[in-house]
């Protein structure tokens, strides 16, 4: 018994370590690491349950660590930037640690809230899932229309249609053909749209990390935090149901519906959506009998199905790993600004850019580089057209609408793939 407990603790700690790597290295994602991870763990002769513990700990901790590079890297200069992300806005004000702390509060709060929601409604998920499947493409189309119309001004609406169209075409070309290795199909697409484009804009504008204050307090009321956590975790679970609907689309809807547009409540909400979505995805095999993320596909490949006992074990691991990741994220959030202040920001950003390009080339070759250049151009275009970057999610939304509406065989025939 003690041996089993120690093994689980050790694997959870290893998962947090891998999650840290996947979270802080830009462009790295658990889905990229899973094939490598699975082949590696089989060498150690781990049991299916033990592999699931490792995957779950990696998946949940990565969510917390992900906010570190997204807040501390890629911030543009305040006087030239046309659109600044909420995390970057606080960093520019010298309150980067507060931004990190808000994401941790949102994450831990949403973990508790989403586990409560999941346990209360566990028996209803399968029914809702089966009922909604034939109509999922209509729900996604409604979200896409909402995203476009939320830009309000005609010029921005047209610009968002352009970005959705370009990224949608890119998604169809890459996902519906066998152009790139199957496991890495999305790596150059997402790295360009959401990673490299932001870093390139940042390197052309910023020379250092803004000076940070020593303050550790958060300037938001408890009521606001609770509201953002509840909205975030519920939205996260809904995102788990809807394929291709991303965190940013959900955040936009929650911002309008719940009035969480202010930078601080936005950070709590977006962290809540991330954690709610991850918890639901990791539990999806048990809840709806279908994997809803790369991590749950990996769990399915080793365990086939989850028993109630497995679920209890994995919930324990989720709580443990989330707690450890939260403490580590806060510690890093305090230490990093001082460390980054001593490093040449341009050189740091440039090395991240070189690393991303090298990784894409190593995993996907010259065709992957072509996709990366194209997706980066679309990402930069989106920035200069002054519209929300979430329109770039067209790369997943459009192919998913085609798949669920049964139109993809026709499209593939027309495109001659």
């Amino acid at each position: 018994m003690i041996n089993l407990l120690l093994t689980i603790l050790l694997l959870a700690a290893a998962g947090v370590g891998i999650g840290l790597f996947a979270g802080i290295v830009p462009g790295m994602h658990i889905n990229t690491l899973i094939p490598l991870l699975l082949s590696f763990v089989f060498l150690f002769g781990l049991q299916p349950q033990e592999i699931a513990v490792l995957i779950v700990a990696t998946g949940i901790s990565e969510i917390f660590f992900n906010f570190i590079p997204s807040i501390f890297l890629g911030a543009p200069e305040a006087d030239t930037a046309l659109s600044v992300l909420p995390g970057h806005r606080l960093l520019i004000e010298g309150r980067g640690y507060e931004a990190i702390k808000l994401t941790v509060i949102g994450g831990i709060g949403a973990l508790i809230a989403s586990l409560l929601v999941i346990f209360v409604f566990a028996s209803g998920f399968q029914f809702v899932y089966e009922l909604s499947r034939p109509y999922i493409h209509f729900a996604i189309i409604a979200v896409v229309c909402f995203m476009i119309l939320s830009e309000k001004k005609l010029r921005k609406i047209l610009a968002s249609i352009l970005i959705l169209g370009l990224s949608g075409l890119l998604g169809i070309f890459v996902l519906e053909s066998s152009l790139l290795p199957q496991q890495q199909t999305l790596l150059p697409v997402l790295s360009g749209l959401f990673g490299l484009s932001i870093l390139i804009i940042s390197i052309s504008e910023r020379s250092s990390i803004p000076e940070q204050t020593n303050s550790t307090d958060v300037k938001i009321s408890t009521k606001e935090i609770l509201r953002a956590i509840i909205l975030g975790s519920v939205a996260g679970i809904v995102v788990g149901f809807l394929p291709a609907i991303g965190i940013s689309e959900a955040a936009t809807i929650v911002q309008y519906a719940g009035g969480t547009g202010e930078a601080r409540s936005f950070l709590v909400t977006i962290s809540g959506i991330n954690v709610g979505n991850e918890v639901f995805s990791l539990m999806s095999l048990y809840l709806v009998g279908n994997p809803r993320s790369g991590a749950s596909v990996a769990i399915q490949s080793v365990m086939n199905e989850l028993t109630f006992y497995d679920v209890i074990l994995l919930v324990g691991v989720i709580c443990l790993a989330a707690g450890a990741a939260a403490v580590l994220t806060l510690w890093l959030g305090k230490k990093l600004p001082r460390l980054l202040a001593r490093i040449n920001y341009k050189k740091l950003t440039l090395s991240v850019i070189i690393f991303l390009v090298a990784m894409v080339f190593a995993m996907t070759g010259f065709l992957g580089l072509l996709v990366l250049v194209t997706s980066t151009s679309i990402g930069i275009l989106c920035n200069y057209l002054e519209i929300r970057r979430s329109h770039c999610m067209g790369c997943l939304l459009i192919p998913t609408i085609l798949f669920f509406s049964g139109l993809n065989p026709l499209i593939i025939s027309i495109l001659n793939f």
Partner: protein
Amino acid sequence: MELEGIKTTENKPAGENKKFKLRKNSLIIICGLTSAIGLVLIYFAASSIQAKILPLREINTEFVGRLVTTSGYITYKRTHPSGHLFLTIADDTERNVKMEVPLFAGFLDSLKDINIEPSDFKTGRTIVVTGTVDEYRESLQIVPRKPSDIKFVLD
């Protein structure tokens, strides 16, 4: 309510603002052109990929994610409550080599446009299938993507 952005160009002097707008417009044109050229190149690269013709017995995990054309005779078929049809095909010469060909409900609908009905998939019939090799629950599958990916071999 400003959702994601704060505009600050208004605070700049007029000359600097004009220069900034000029730079922004040039970048929009450059990025727009790069995106369009990139998409055209990706389309041509994707459409020029030819399926590799292989006997069923030679398809292994190395081909996961790649497009192949193979043939086999139907040994088993299973209908899913959601309307999907799962075929098991076997190699013509090495009969113990088998692989699953999932035909999802939407795909079966598109087959009706070329007059292929689910009832046409009878055990014993030989089919030529083109599709992406996929790994599902540690077994390989060939997933056809468009109606012309399925052809019946005349008896």
